[in-house]
């Protein structure tokens, strides 16, 4: 072998090894950080080999919420019947400690969704837990205790997703809650009872098809921690032929008023466009965000918003059922969408039932990637031939630029590869190292904490927004960050993913640039704020200026 050939071989080996070493790798670090408790969610268990009722299938959400303002994200994990939900305090990114008893946080029954926001603008983040039965506001008493306030959602509702939203821009936070269907044990048939209770010739729990619909709810914040049901007057209750799950908010048409997208199971998804005077009009179908490209309603579960193609408009990604692919709705501008799933390279995975999902820039290159967590609703799937299984791995798509994605699941570590029966997933940087961590609520198992073993070498910045004239949580604030000549956008939002609460702070990858050249904030109050030459690698508090 000549010296030149030897050098070439060494260079090739270095390149290959180097590339592998740089490939980000997710581990499941849950046990190491204190998440060892399992959260029950119906079958299968030793005493109950399967899921008898649909209430056991929808699972529960999870939240990253800094309830004590110490700069570290605390965690809330919700439980199905037979367990209690828990609040964990983040001990400066080293450990998470169960503080449920000392803070008075307690739930029982079938907890479903969680969403956060400072309802009374006192500087402490409150949160809502939705249930089959009712929904509860946990009012944060200066981070010492939580006071329970029952919300007027009506009795025996199957409340699922939720999000705080200042829909009337009066500076206080209102609340939207989705409802899945009408459920009670006495009227829902048992597995195999009728044709709606079969999956590929196997008797399974019944629904949602065949079960009665319900309507969605909007509660207006009247101050003093009092809420009024304005669902009918606002137009939210209008569509009532949808099995509604994940709630996602965003100003999709760019008019400065927050809209609401709701992922719906086996029925068209809903897009409520804010009419600016306290009402909404549902236009999901007309705007191209309800169906797939064949005009078919899919089984929507969770949803995420992000600018996938860098055109300055929020796109929507929705997770669906097996034998379908999750859908990317590209925003063509002004809130008019088209199904761009195939063109984006996201249509190959059809064996998964997707739930929690989020746009995250895991490699900090300035393009939003996508992660979704999965798990089937029928344990019986394991008895079938073929690739569909009850426990399923996560899927990670890397954004390779301009809205094209590559499936990198098999090369991004053991945390992604672990098969689970996952439901809610919350995205946030719990240890402030610049890498977004994902907390996943798994049914009948401890949660997963998907954490990069080594953060990407690229730069980043996290922005924590604090409203003064706008709502204190800055929900609805729009941020654009320019670095390396590219501008990224995002909004502060409550809820999202699947019945979960992501970090209220916004994370941006800056690529090779050590700073953001320009950060612009458009506050819900209408105030614009400009920051220039902002150093990255840190969490930056951005308070709304006092002058109007």
């Amino acid at each position: 072998m000549t010296r030149a050939a030897l050098l070439l071989l060494v260079a090739a080996a270095f390149l290959l090894f180097g590339a592998a070493a740089l490939q980000p790798s997710f581990e499941n670090a849950a046990a190491r950080y204190g998440f060892t408790h399992s959260f029950p969610n119906g079958g299968p268990t030793e005493s109950q080999p399967t899921k008898k009722y649909i209430i056991e299938t929808t699972g529960s959400g999870v939240g990253w919420i800094d309830y004590d303002n110490d700069g570290y994200l605390d965690a809330v994990l919700l439980s199905g019947d037979g367990g209690t939900s828990r609040l964990y305090h983040n001990e400066t990114g080293r450990k998470l400690r169960d503080v449920s008893a000392e803070t008075g946080f307690f739930t029982s029954g079938w907890a479903q969704g969680i969403c956060a926001g400072d309802t009374d603008n006192d500087g402490f983040t409150d949160f809502v837990v939705t249930h089959w039965g009712s929904s509860t506001l946990f009012h944060n008493q200066a981070s010492r205790r939580f006071r329970r306030i029952e919300l007027p959602t009506g009795p025996n509702r199957y409340n699922t997703g939720c999000a705080f939203i200042d829909y009337d821009r009066d500076g206080d936070l209102d609340l939207v809650i989705s409802n899945y269907l009408r459920f009670d044990y006495s009227s829902v048939p048992l597995p195999g009872a009728n044709p709606y209770c079969f999956y590929r010739n196997l008797a399974v729990n019944c629904g949602p098809r065949g079960l009665d619909f319900d309507r969605n709810i909007l509660l207006r914040n009247d101050g003093g921690l009092k809420f009024t049901d304005v669902s009918a007057a606002s137009g939210i209750a209008g569509p009532n032929r949808n099995y509604a799950l994940g709630v996602l908010t965003g100003d999709f048409d760019g008019d400065g008023w927050t809209d609401i997208f709701i992922a719906c199971d086996q029925t068209p998804s809903l897009l409520y466009i804010n009419q600016r005077h306290g009402t909404f009009v549902e236009e999901g179908l007309l705007r191209g965000a309800a169906l797939d490209e064949h005009g078919k309603a899919l089984s929507g579960m969770g949803a995420a918003a992000g600018d996938a193609d860098g055109d300055g408009w929020l796109d929507i990604f929705r997770t669906n059922f097996s034998d379908e692919y999750s859908t990317l709705y590209r925003n063509r501008g002004n809130g008019e969408f088209e199904d761009a799933t195939v063109a984006a390279g996201l249509s190959a995975n059809t064996h998964y039932v997707g739930w929690g999902t989020g746009f995250l820039d895991f490699d900090n290159d300035g393009w939003k990637d996508l992660l979704l967590v999965n798990g089937h609703v029928f344990p019986e799937a394991d008895r079938l031939p073929g690739p569909v299984r009850f426990r399923q791995r996560s899927i990670l798509y890397r954004n390779i630029g301009k809205g094209r994605f590559a499936d990198v699941s098999s090369a991004t570590g053991p945390g992604i590869a672990e098969p689970r029966v996952a439901r809610g997933a919350a995205f946030g940087d719990f240890d402030n190292d610049g890498a977004v961590d994902i907390l996943v609520n798994n049914q009948n198992e401890p949660p997963s904490l998907l954490r990069l073993q080594k953060p990407a070498p690229s730069n980043w910045i996290i922005l924590k927004l604090e409203g003064r004239h706008s709502n204190r949580s800055a929900l609805g604030a729009k941020v654009s960050v320019t670095a390396n000549g590219r501008t990224q956008i995002d909004e502060v939002r409550s809820g999202g993913s699947y019945l979960s609460q992501n970090d209220l702070r916004l994370h941006f990858g800056l690529g090779s640039s050590p700073q953001a050249e320009r950060i612009e904030v458009l506050w819900p109050s209408g105030k614009k704020q400009l920051l220039l030459g902002v150093r990255g690698g840190r969490v930056l508090l951005v308070a709304e200026p006092d002058d109007r």
Partner: protein, 109 residues
Amino acid sequence: MARQNPNAARERFQRALTLDPSLAEALIALGKLDAASGRHADAIGHLERAVKLRPNSEPALYNLMLAYRNAGRAADARAASDRLQKLQQPPQGEFTEFLKKLGEKTPPQ
């Protein structure tokens, strides 16, 4: 093929239509190809023909609605949307009706 080589795809769909002018699937595919390349009038022409052939075709109505919308024909888009909505939504109480037809009662718990 339609996305990677739209011209070749267009040619094949047109040939299929020559063989069978009532092939709604080919008209829908042509409509989608035209829509993707911004040829709104052509897209609408193909899709209107498809809807005429198959009035209850969800893909035809859906893509026609989007084509109207993209062409700025809001009223036509809304009318197509209303028709599609009726096709999409099963009636409330569908299950109860279904049980009645079968003469069944809710199974005991």
